[in-house]
């Protein structure tokens, strides 16, 4: 049975990875059609020359950095609090955030913002996107950090307090160093989620701010394009590296 499973695993891994590999191969195809006509980097050049694309990438990056920073901090603190004493409300809310379909989350946030904007002089823009991203990333941060906390001996914090450290000093000097790899892994995860989000972002971004997924989506709807192949490959390679790093850290 072991050999059968191994063969099966190879087939599934091929299924999972081949489409992206094929995309990568065709991103360096000189022809814009499916027939192979030689190696070329022209589509990457075109990608780097596209102002809209670059601007939206910049927006996405800014949003991702901001939301990652906020959600990592808030999520780590929440995970610690849950570890100290389970709270059905908080845990339930976070679980709900994980399980709710994106369209529902997006629509609810849109409704929230539109309602709030009757009383506050604001419009949809980068800040609403950041708020949205923070809110759905927190649950992922909590899952990663909490998993690491489950292997932490509570006696260590008590020992620190016994030796004169206040509650917060014990957390800062003993627990936090232990959590560092998980926090880094969670941050990378939050980053990739933020960079990739389309549904929620498109609903709450308003007309002025475009993110990279929004631009990609518009291009994809118009049909296949070799520049899009290049963009896709670039993103996959970058994010893939980040994810692998994150996994390494999480297991440290």
């Amino acid at each position: 049975m072991k050999r059968g499973l191994a063969v099966y695993a190879v087939a599934i891994y091929a299924f999972l990875h081949l489409p992206l590999l094929i995309l990568a191969i065709f991103s360096v195809n000189a022809s814009r059609f499916t027939a192979w006509q030689g190696f070329s980097l022209q589509w990457y050049a075109a990608m780097l020359a596209d102002r809209d694309l670059l601007e939206s990438a910049g927006n996405s990056l800014a949003i991702a950095v901001a939301s990652t920073a906020l959600s990592t901090v808030i999520g780590t603190l929440a995970a610690y609090s849950l570890w100290k004493r389970a709270s059905n409300w908080l845990a339930g809310g976070l679980y709900l955030s994980l399980v709710t379909p994106e369209i529902v989350t997006g629509v609810s946030l849109l409704a929230l913002f539109q309602w709030a904007f009757r009383y506050v002089d604001f419009r949809l823009g980068m800040h609403t996107v950041i708020l949205a991203h923070v809110s759905f990333s927190i649950a992922y941060v909590v899952v990663v950090v909490l998993a690491r906390l489950r292997g932490f001996d509570p006696a260590l914090e008590e020992a620190a307090q016994d030796l004169g450290a206040t509650e917060f000093a014990a957390f800062r000097r003993v627990t936090l160093p232990y959590l560092a790899p998980a926090i880094a892994a969670a941050a990378m995860l939050a980053f990739t989620i933020s960079i990739d989000d389309y549904v929620i972002t498109s609903l709450v971004a308003g007309v002025d701010s475009q993110t990279l997924p929004m631009v990609i989506y518009a291009m994809a709807r118009r049909g296949v394009s070799p520049v899009l192949n290049a963009v896709s490959t670039t993103i996959v390679v970058l994010l893939g590296t980040l994810v692998l790093l994150s996994e390494r850290l999480r297991r440290a």
Binding site: F15, T34, G93, V99, T100, L110, V143, I216, E247
Partner: protein, 275 residues
């Protein structure tokens, strides 16, 4: 001790309240209001939005969404279980194999769907290869139908199914399997009589983690289904953009939410959780 814990929980709790609790309330309220002349909502109060859902036009959308989500879930679990088994039994290379599953999952759902568009369209790779091999003369309509959407869903959510099942398999007490073998069970029997039943919580978690997002999927059907496949997710999105019927969109959202929450409560177990 308590003060620090409460202080730490406060930002997350506040954020959850503001970004989940309050919006849920607002959407509930909107769902019983009427559609405004220029979009938005206005009085009078009405239950018409909910009664519209029973209309056969929308019923078809509901049924199609449920069917696709269910099919995707079943296929994901069927495909995912053997893979999870493989990884759990792979000894020292576990981390490598796990990374290979997680990797595609996290690198842009959007792009992964686009990759299938590239492969499936009339002038895409699959059709081109089949035609050049002489196996077909006309391109097969692989894209822009229910089948393509199902493929996209399975491709997208397979890792979601593999991970919880793997987690349960990993935590399985190996001595139980050894005991079964000791009592005379052959490998297949050990699998069906011991491993599978003990895996039930993991499979349940996998089912929920796949079914609910599939039910509410939006971009999969938009990109791979074209305009022919409208699912609940597309319906909701439509109401909040072109159709400008917020109350109806809100009602559909609420129904979707309730289904998700109900399923969550039926399958969620204490101790076998992520949180």
């Amino acid at each position: 001790m308590t003060r620090l814990r409460n202080l730490f929980a406060a930002p997350a709790a506040a954020l959850m309240l503001v970004t989940i609790g309050v919006p849920a309330g607002i959407v509930c309220v909107y769902s019983v209001l009427s559609r405004g002349a220029y979009g938005g909502v206005e009085l009078p109060w009405t239950l018409e939005n909910y009664s519209r859902l029973i209309d056969p036009l929308y019923g078809g959308i509901l049924v199609r969404s449920l069917a696709l989500a269910a099919a995707a879930t079943v296929i994901c679990i069927l495909l995912g279980f053997p893979l999870a088994l493989f990884i759990a039994q792979s000894g020292t290379r576990k981390n490598l194999y796990l990374s290979l599953v997680i990797l595609p999952f996290w690198t842009s759902f959007l792009i992964r769907l686009y990759a299938w568009m590239f492969l499936l369209r009339d002038t895409g790779l699959i059709n081109t290869v089949l035609q050049s091999l002489g196996l077909i003369r006309q391109p097969l309509p692989l894209l822009y139908n229910n089948g393509a959407v199902l493929l996209g869903l399975v491709y997208g959510f397979l890792p979601f199914a593999v991970l919880p099942i793997y987690a349960t398999l990993e935590r399985l007490d190996k001595s139980l399997l050894e005991a079964a073998a000791d009592l005379g069970a052959r490998p297949i029997a050990v699998l069906t009589r011991v491993t599978l039943p003990l895996c039930a919580p993991g499979i349940g978690a996998a089912a929920i983690l796949v079914f609910v997002p599939c039910l509410g999927t939006y971009i999969t059907s938009d990109l791979l289904g074209g305009s022919k496949t409208i699912l609940i997710g597309n319906l909701v999105q439509n109401q909040f953009s072109t159709a400008r019927d917020w109350p109806f969109g809100a009602a559909v959202s609420i129904v979707l939410m309730i289904v998700a929450v109900l399923l969550m409560f039926t399958v969620r177990r204490r101790g076998e959780e992520l949180l």
